[in-house]
């Protein structure tokens, strides 16, 4: 079972790397930020699967930290600017 979960983690990681293409290509800032947000979510999923595979609670804590902080880049991007 744990090796199966490890494979699943790898599969999620692969979709994460494919998503990189959008971060790299853009073309709009919104594209890049949205893709970066997807990277965050995918990374969280990969960490959860990986943590379950190796039976480590620390991976879940790492995913938790990412889940709390990942929206910040998007927020910094979408909020109104002073004077806007």
């Amino acid at each position: 079972m744990s090796s199966l979960l490890g494979v699943a983690a790898f599969a999620v990681l692969l979709t994460l790397l494919l998503g990189l293409v959008r971060v790299l290509r853009g073309p709009q800032a919104a594209d890049r930020i949205a893709a970066a947000q997807l990277l965050g979510t995918t990374g969280i999923a990969a960490l959860l699967l990986w943590g379950a595979a190796v039976g480590s609670a620390t991976h879940t804590d790492l995913a938790l930290t990412l889940a709390v902080l990942a929206p910040f880049a998007t927020i910094a991007m979408v909020r109104k600017e002073p004077g806007e």
């Binding site: 971060v23 890049r32 990374g43 620390t58 804590d61 930290t65 709390v68 902080l69």
Partner: protein
């Protein structure tokens, strides 16, 4: 192994993307992705404490800081130096290639039996009453470094305050934030309580497992920044005594406890035996609050 190579490829692609990006915005977005992948890479290396820190800093605070800077600069770009000529660039490129090869060779040629301190840490960890070996190093074996690091953060806050214009420098830090409405305002009210619980959790597990004061402080700082960015909780003025005391309290307490150790046992930063754990926890709590305040002030930046 394939996982590692895939991750390395992704990190390299993003790093190259940052370097060749035409707009600052794109570079920052790529950099945020880079930080995220780097956090995963730390996990693969088995350095979970570092992974947590990278997630907190790279994915969270750095992103906010740099995106805000990119937005401000797109309105008023800073002056640029003249670009180096073609020959200079080729020379610099060759130099950097040599550096890469030299460092790469050095990494590969390190002694086969790695000399390290893992065994020493394991042998002495019991004396620190902490279960997390990294916390033992940070709070006991290399406590001086941690103390100085917290002092460096205070100094960095002083630096950013010093960079404000003379007019109104003691007012609230950063640019005034317009009030957000709708979903963002809702998020800014809902997330902080949850985030504070997460921060407390990360702090507490840090005693015996990866995690700890700095990661918790970064999350706390983010929870302060969110309502500030949404314009629903203005930052207190820099002139406020309470704010300044908050920033100074942690490092000052750390030094005071260090001096206490010097008086009681004859060595600075020695934790009096029997009281290691409670004293370390008290100092860590104070440090967490001070570091959180310092990090938030650093991201807000000087008053503009």
């Amino acid at each position: 192994m394939i996982v590692d190579l895939a991750l390395v490829g992704g990190i390299l692609a993003l790093a190259l993307g940052v370097l060749v990006a035409r707009q600052a915005f794109a570079a920052v977005a790529l950099f945020i992705g880079y930080g995220l992948l780097l956090a995963l890479a730390w996990g693969r290396l088995g350095l979970m404490d570092v992974a947590l820190t990278e997630a907190a800093i790279g994915a969270g605070l750095s992103g906010v800081l740099l995106l805000a800077a990119a937005r401000r600069l797109s309105a008023a770009p800073a002056q640029e130096d003249s670009p180096p000529g073609r020959v200079t660039r080729a020379l610099i490129g060759a130099g950097c290639a040599i550096l890469t090869c030299a460092v790469g060779a050095a990494v590969l040629l390190l002694p086969d039996a790695p000399p390290g301190l893992a065994a020493e840490v394991a042998a002495n960890q019991r004396a620190t009453a902490l279960g997390n070996p990294v916390a033992s190093v940070l709070m006991a074996f290399r406590g001086l470094d941690t103390l100085l690091e917290s002092a460096v953060l205070v100094l960095a806050v002083i630096c950013t305050v010093a960079l404000a214009p003379d007019q109104g420098w003691a007012g609230p830090p950063g640019a005034p934030q317009p009030q957000a409405d709708g979903p963002l305002a809702l998020l800014a009210r809902l997330l902080p309580p949850l985030g504070i619980v997460v921060a407390a959790h990360i702090f507490w597990i840090g005693v015996d497992a990866p995690g700890g004061k700095f990661q918790a402080a970064a999350i706390l700082a983010a929870m302060w920044l969110l309502p500030w960015m949404a314009g629903i909780a203005p930052a207190p003025p820099i002139g406020t005594r309470a704010l300044r005391i908050t920033v100074a309290a942690g490092p000052a307490l750390f030094i005071a406890v260090g001096l206490l150790g010097a008086m009681l046992t004859g060595a600075f930063l020695a934790w009096p035996s029997g009281f290691e754990k409670p004293l370390i926890l008290i100092v860590e709590v104070a440090l967490t609050l001070s570091i959180a305040a310092a990090l938030a002030l650093l991201v807000m930046g000087p008053r503009t």
